[in-house]
């Protein structure tokens, strides 16, 4: 069984202050890194002889509109089957420069997850082979998961919003 401490120390030793904000919410090792380092970190974890954190469980985006300069965040969940060890890696990126390198070179599964993240938040994954919308219609001109856009379909007619605080 791999301990969070061990992995954290190894990563700190390798990347120094490029990995930071170590946390353990509900026992899951969480850390942040910069977008320059994310691909090396992922690759390091994947190819590490003993850790073998080689499964990209999940990749998604989050938006923090109030967090100026770090409005968007891409979250990677990795899993090592051998050690049954999970790790969460976060990368914050500013809205003004919404770019992050793609992980499709490392994991085939990253392809659609990145497309989805792009579709929802407009995060641009540099080097992605086919970064187009995946779930929404091509013609859509905004990124619907961003907090500023409404959820509702504006054409709904049968609802009275005035009732009970809606």
């Amino acid at each position: 069984m791999l301990s969070n401490q061990e992995v954290a120390e190894e990563l700190l030793g390798k990347y120094g202050d490029q990995v930071f904000d170590f946390e353990e919410p509900y026992g899951l090792l969480t850390l942040s890194t910069t977008r320059e380092n994310i691909i090396p970190v992922l690759e390091f974890l994947r190819d590490h002889k003993s850790y073998q954190v080689n499964f990209l469980t999940d990749l998604t985006g989050v938006q923090y509109p109030e967090n100026k300069g770090k409005e968007f965040m891409v979250v990677y969940h990795m899993h090592s089957f051998i050690h049954n060890f999970r790790i969460r890696i976060k990368v914050s990126i500013p809205e003004a420069d919404i770019h992050i390198p793609t992980a499709t070179g490392l994991f085939a599964s990253a392809n659609w997850m990145e497309r989805e993240t792009y579709d929802f938040y407009g995060i641009l994954f540099d080097g992605h082979p086919n970064l187009i919308r995946i779930l929404n219609i091509e013609e859509m001109d905004y990124f619907p998961m961003r907090k500023e856009y409404p959820l509702e379909d504006a054409t709904r007619e049968d609802k009275i919003d005035a009732l009970f605080g809606r």
Binding site: P25, Y26, V75, H77, S109, L151
Partner: protein, 408 residues
């Protein structure tokens, strides 16, 4: 009225048709093709009947679950998860509840955990039943489908006894179950355990060792373990490729550590392996249901968490505190802590993950579903490359891509 223009790809005019220089045909499989259960599109480039390359278009039933989840109180998200993988909605349902319980740090009593296990395993059976029998339909054998559908009807009856609905069950609550298992429900589950094996055996007899079926499925749509992992396969599809990864064993939740079951694995990840893995998983699920039912502990079916679990109606009238809790819970004003949780359950199709970020508000700040169908369906062009059209269709149905889960 919203004006919707027709997509241009539908009927090309004579002038637009390409000249007969390239030898490849483009076949548009879907979105309404009968084999695309649920709705997605495959644009296949074909050389005769051989598939040269394929490209998928998805999102035809994109319903913005994640966006809705940001606007709804925690307890209302149940109705969303139900509709994600609708073949096995209780698994989604309880997976979500367990995620919230992890966030709120509620310990669910043993009885509720066992009831959840029973329901989840029944759901797994019904999910695999649909997948395997649809595989049968796609090979042309229709009757087996209707034989096992009768047993699925029995599962629905059990659901109905427990919660009052057949498909979108909404049977869990944060902190436990909505209802306890009634004696009738227990009787029905026992009946099911007794009557299901002969039907499944019959289905196996009809299909599994029939040479036509074996010829159709062996070495069709295979994927190597290495590629499967790279594509993020989990669940039966990964197990068919030969890796015994099962969330129920690796990260036991809801008392799965109490049960004895084995993890079926296949050899080369082809359609026949997937079929067999699913069949065997049904047997294992049945075993789990039996164990859980025999060892069903007595006790409450919900946690002692008055801030999160609705009080009994009687209390609401007589007890001021209960009334306040009732209002707070229904209004969604529970005091959820800020934090982030990732919780995974073994869904019908693989690791179904819930990544929940709470900022302490009434609704999740961000809720992301790790939807197995979405992740592994990208491998489809690679899997059907070089095979014939018929193979591609079997590959698709044995992958068990559920459109609701695919598009979310």
């Amino acid at each position: 009225m919203a004006e919707i223009e027709l997509l241009p790809h539908n009927v090309p005019s004579q002038a637009e048709l390409p000249e007969l220089v390239e030898e490849l045909t483009t076949l548009n499989l879907g979105p309404t093709h009968p084999a695309t259960h649920g709705i997605f599109q495959n644009i296949l480039k074909m050389d005769g009947e051989k598939i040269v390359s394929g490209e998928q278009t998805i999102g035809y039933i994109h319903r913005a679950f994640e966006k809705i989840a940001e606007r709804r109180p925690f307890y209302q998200i149940t109705t969303l998860t139900d509709r994600m993988n609708y073949c096995s909605s209780p698994i989604n349902n309880f997976g979500w509840h367990m995620t919230v319980e992890k966030l709120l740090q509620i310990e669910v009593p043993k009885r509720a955990q066992y009831i959840r296990v029973i329901m989840m395993e029944l759901a797994r059976i019904s999910d695999h039943l649909i997948c395997n029998s649809i595989l049968g339909v796609d090979t042309g054998a229709f009757s087996g489908f209707l034989y096992v559908m009768q047993k699925r009807e029995d599962i629905y009856e059990i659901y109905e006894e427990v919660c009052g609905a057949r498909l979108t069950t909404n049977m869990g609550r944060i902190g436990g179950m909505e209802r306890d298992l009634s004696t009738t429900a227990i009787r029905k589950i026992r009946d099911f355990i007794k009557t299901f094996p002969p039907v499944l055996q019959e289905f196996e007899k009809l299909m599994s060792r029939n040479r036509i079926f074996m010829d159709r499925t062996i070495n069709v749509g295979g994927i190597s373990l290495e590629r499967a992992l790279s594509y993020g396969f989990t669940g039966p599809n990964l197990r068919a490729a030969g890796l015994d990864y099962d969330v129920r064993v690796m990260n036991p939740y809801s008392s799965y550590e109490d049960f004895d079951f084995s993890i079926p694995i296949g050899q080369s990840g082809d359609t026949f392996d997937r079929y067999n893995v699913r069949i065997e998983e049904m047997w294992q699920s049945l075993k789990i249901v039996e164990q859980a039912l025999n060892n069903l502990p007595e006790g409450p079916y919900y946690a002692d968490a008055p801030e999160y679990y609705l009080p009994p109606k009687k209390e609401v009238y007589n007890n001021m505190e209960a009334l306040i809790y009732h209002f707070k819970i229904v209004m969604g004003e529970i005091d959820a802590p800020a934090g982030e949780v990732y919780h995974a359950v073994e869904g019908g199709n693989g690791e179904l993950g819930f990544y929940l970020i709470s900022d302490g508000g009434r609704a999740p700040y961000r809720l992301h579903f790790r939807r197995p169908s979405f992740i592994y369906y990208q491998a489809y062009p690679e899997m059907c490359k070089g095979s014939t059209l018929s193979d591609a269709i079997l590959t698709m149905s044995s992958l068990n891509v559920i459109a609701g889960e695919l598009d979310a």
